[in-house]
């Protein structure tokens, strides 16, 4: 057997395992082709709902996606789940082939990178809380840059005096960093175990997760609500 054929045969074995998992349920090969074509053609990640509207009624989109993920697992192009949506991307080990020698458009400052990390792990988080973690007042530009790139957004208001706005990450952030969801952030469990994600300042035993859902003490953001004075954090308070 040729080596290519062997490779494909391996894929086949994976596939068999895959389909066995589903107890005899077999992904329809024609549906597989359809999802393949749809995902290949699209420039944006597609979710299951979008895919199922294009497929015949009753098609097992989830099953097809699983099968497709297995088929492409070891290929030069992989099927990835980002932000709960599916997208073909080149295999990461081939980055050296494709990396374009374009200077990174905007080199983010250290402050911006840290702020992004804090927002992604601690969301929903207020400006004062970010400042508490970093121990320094934040320049207005930092949030603006991240907002402009489209990686963070204002997501609500905290039900505390002054009703400060809360920040969170966007879908574009997940897509850019290849994350299926906020819960898939690297090292999230370590941070949680160390208690570093506790409410700021530490309030007790509850260990909140970063979440896209509105927090218990968070109101949805209403852009029309008049802005209150949002002073910078008091360092001596900490």
């Amino acid at each position: 057997m040729s080596s290519v054929a062997k490779m494909i045969s391996e894929i086949e074995n994976q596939m068999d395992a895959e389909t066995e998992d589903k107890q005899g349920e077999v992904a329809n090969p024609e549906h597989l082709r359809m999802v393949e074509a749809l995902l290949f053609a699209a420039s944006e990640p597609l979710d299951q709902k979008a895919l199922s509207t294009s497929l015949p009624e009753g098609a097992d989109v989830a099953g097809v996606l699983k099968a497709l993920e297995a088929v492409y697992e070891k290929r030069g192009v992989n099927l990835c789940c980002v932000a709960g949506k599916y997208q073909f991307r080149t295999a990461s080990d081939l980055a050296f082939l494709l990396r374009k020698e374009q200077p990174e458009q905007k080199r983010l400052s250290k402050a911006a990178i840290e702020t992004l990390a804090i927002i992604s792990y601690h969301q929903p988080v207020t400006r004062a809380e970010i400042e508490d973690i970093r121990g320094v007042a934040m320049s207005k530009g930092t949030i603006d840059i991240l907002m402009e790139i489209g990686w963070i957004k204002i997501r609500g208001r905290k039900r505390t005096p002054g009703r400060p706005v809360t920040y969170g990450t966007t879908e574009a952030f997940l897509v850019q960093f290849g994350l299926e969801s906020i819960g898939h952030l690297p090292g999230l469990d370590e941070l949680k175990a160390a208690g570093f994600l506790e409410a700021i300042p530490p309030s007790g035993f509850d260990v909140p997760n970063p979440s896209d859902e509105l927090g218990a003490d968070e109101d949805p953001y209403d852009p029309n609500e008049p802005e209150m004075a949002t002073g910078s954090a008091n360092l001596d308070e900490a």
Partner: protein
Amino acid sequence: MSAEQAENFGEFEATALANDDEALLIQVDGFEGPLDLLLTLARNQKVDIAKISILKLAEQYLEFVESAKKLNLELAADYLVMAAWLAYLKSRLILPQEKGPDGEPTADEMATRLRWRLQRLDAMRAMSTRLMGRERLDRDVFGRGDPEPVNVVKLRTYKDTMYDLLTAYATDRARKLGGKAYRPQMAPVLAIEEARERLERMLGKISDWSALTTLLPFEWTGGNRRRSAMASTLLAALEMARDGKVQLQQASPFAEIYVRDGQRGQDIPSEASAPGA
């Protein structure tokens, strides 16, 4: 300043941050605030941050601030606030353990809290490195370079109905038959000249006294058309009577008007013999 510190911070410079909220402040180059400075100092102790000596750390920080003053560097306010707080913490750490005033946390509790904050900042730094180290779209991994856009096919339906079709047909046909030139629509009026011409032509043909209503043109029937014909014919008859061409008579107001050729005899018909009254 210790030799170790000199090695690390000897070269720091003051930089004014232009175009920023903090433009008026002087920042110690390379440090992102007092906590960052503390974290760097803590790392220099080369022990686990969890076990770091806060007393030693406080001393190092205060030393650093002193040396900055000697170099005539004006430190940003938050560095000085931290210095004041650390000086206070240091004094309490040296003194025997006791509760602070008004249930203030003990010096140990304050030290633990600071240690925790340094650990947390350290952890978030590590996470930001991990996050930025991820394979990123369009830098490490790539999507389809030549996506095939969805073709939008317009499904045209027409709203035209039978009503539209028939309206179009009727107006189009009417326009064609009406000729291409503009023709104002004529009001249904019988011209007096026309009525007089008619009457003159009829003179030879009508017998003796004839009722004016019987002399009206046949096609001028109904409503306004008949009234116009009546009025015009009467006027024409009056003109002709003035010229002596006809004779007219009417028995009473609103009664039938009779006409006869002016050349005929002068005898007037009796009411009874008047035809078609």
